[in-house]
């Protein structure tokens, strides 16, 4: 952080007043932005410039800015959260860009994620999928003694890996079909691996898949773009598991 190089970036940003507006790309130039800044900090600089000029700032979702909340969501040069693997837009830094670069910034594009304003999309379809079965409906009370429910180490690891999903929607955004399979599979997988998830296992898989289809996400073409785009490294093995879970639910019913 000793060298603080200044950069000038040319941006093509999707601007859309509201859900009904047609929307269009608007060109901006951000000058003198620090190379050590994050991508969202660069947008903050742009917005300050816009506010000073009396223009409407670019609306984008953000919260923790440390890569764990899943709020930030934008396509940066055709890649969800930018082209760095396992990185959220807030953790993407300008040192990965060159002075004078043109960067195209677009919202997630999916029928199930309607645009609210500029780069902000409505991701409540994910919430409805979770409501359809992504939970354990027992009153757990206090934490039980750790050895009373033994969980094999591999299962615990697999469940934790799936539970790393932050629900940002990058998988949907990157998928050529706007499919939500990686998200849904992570949510089904994290509980299918644990004893607490067993009583509702079949129902969970069936209901969450039904809700996913109802929300009009596309189907899975097994291309793996979702895994590549996932900032949390959720694996395609979860999708294979979801495909298995649904078959299992069908046979058990």
């Amino acid at each position: 952080m000793t060298t603080s190089k200044q950069m000038t970036l040319k941006l093509k940003v999707w601007r859309q007043k509201n859900a009904k507006d047609q929307g269009r790309f608007v060109d901006y130039t951000v000058e003198g932005v620090n190379q050590a800044a994050s991508f969202l900090e660069m947008l903050d600089v742009l917005n300050e410039q816009l506010i000073r000029k009396g223009e409407e700032p670019v609306a984008f979702d953000h919260d923790c800015r440390e890569g764990i909340c899943g709020s930030c969501a934008m396509m940066i040069n055709g890649c969800a959260h930018g082209d760095m693997p396992r990185t959220t837009a807030c953790q993407l830094h300008l040192r990965h860009f060159n002075d004078g670069d043109t960067i195209v910034i677009e919202p997630w594009r999916a029928r199930a994620f309607p645009i609210i304003k500029d780069l902000v999309v409505d991701r409540s379809a994910f919430d409805r999928i979770i409501s359809a079965g992504g939970y354990v409906s027992t009153n757990v009370g206090n934490a039980p003694e750790a050895n009373s429910i033994p969980v094999p180490q591999q299962d615990a690891e697999a469940a934790m890996d799936a539970a790393a999903c932050i629900g940002c929607g990058a998988c949907v955004a990157q998928c050529k079909n706007a499919s939500a399979m990686l998200f849904v599979s992570a949510k089904v997988s994290q509980m299918a691996h644990l004893p607490q998830g067993q009583p509702e296992r079949a129902r969970r898989a069936r209901n969450m898949v039904a809700q996913m289809d109802k929300e009009k996400f596309g189907a899975c073409s097994n291309t793996g773009a979702c895994e590549a785009a996932c900032p949390k490294g959720i694996k395609l093995t979860n999708i294979a598991l979801l495909n298995r879970e649904l078959a299992r639910a069908q046979v058990k019913s």
Binding site: K12, W14, F25, M75, N77, G78, C79, A80, D83, P85, V104, E106, R109, A110, R111, A112, Q174, K176, N177, A178, S179, V209, A210, M212, D213, K216, F217, G218, A219, C220, S221, N222, T223, G224, A225, E227, A228, A229, K235, L236, T237, I239, A240, L241, L242, N243, R244, E245, L246, A247, Q250, S253
Partner: protein, 225 residues
Amino acid sequence: MAMASWKAYLGSSIGKKKLVGLTGLALSLFTLTHMAGNLLMFVSADAYNLYSHTLVSNPAIYLAEAGLVAFFLIHVILTVQLTMDNRAARPAGYQHAAHGVKKTSFAAKTAILSGSLLLAFVVLHLQTFKFGTVYTTTVDGVEMRDIYTLVVEKFREPGYVAWYLLSLVLLGMHLSHGFKASFQSLGLFASNHPTLAKLGWAFAIIVAGGFITQPLAVYFFGLGG
């Protein structure tokens, strides 16, 4: 109740993909056996004709053919339906194409296109050979169709050879995505499982490469006199 639940299962996006994967795998195995049979061209004209005659004179051929047609139709109808649904799931596309690791493979993106051209190929292929000119020959005192002569005749036409080669390259591309993808749809392995990904490529190259050897041998190396 049971009926309705199966309908919901197979009608879901996952259920449809399972049928696509299952029929795709069955058709993939068919292409492998078909390719292996074709290699008899390199043994002799009689061996090739006898193999063909043995296949078509077995009454079970009608069952096998009906099965193939059914698999083909299910595969085509469902993939067309899924493609339409998938396109509707993203009404407005992106201005900037993906690049680097987040990019989707060309074979996966164009599977519906390669598949459509393969459908045209299969129809024309049946017309050219199965329902094409009938020459006859006698092998071990049995009169049978001389399909070998017809194949050699066709593989001497440059236009036909070019179309055949193009179709086989498309088949290879289609298989390079479809073979490994089927395993993920069926819930067996992730499609990017390192061994499966290699096996998918090997399968595609062996099948397409195997088919391609005969037109090349006939056209460039004078196979079949």
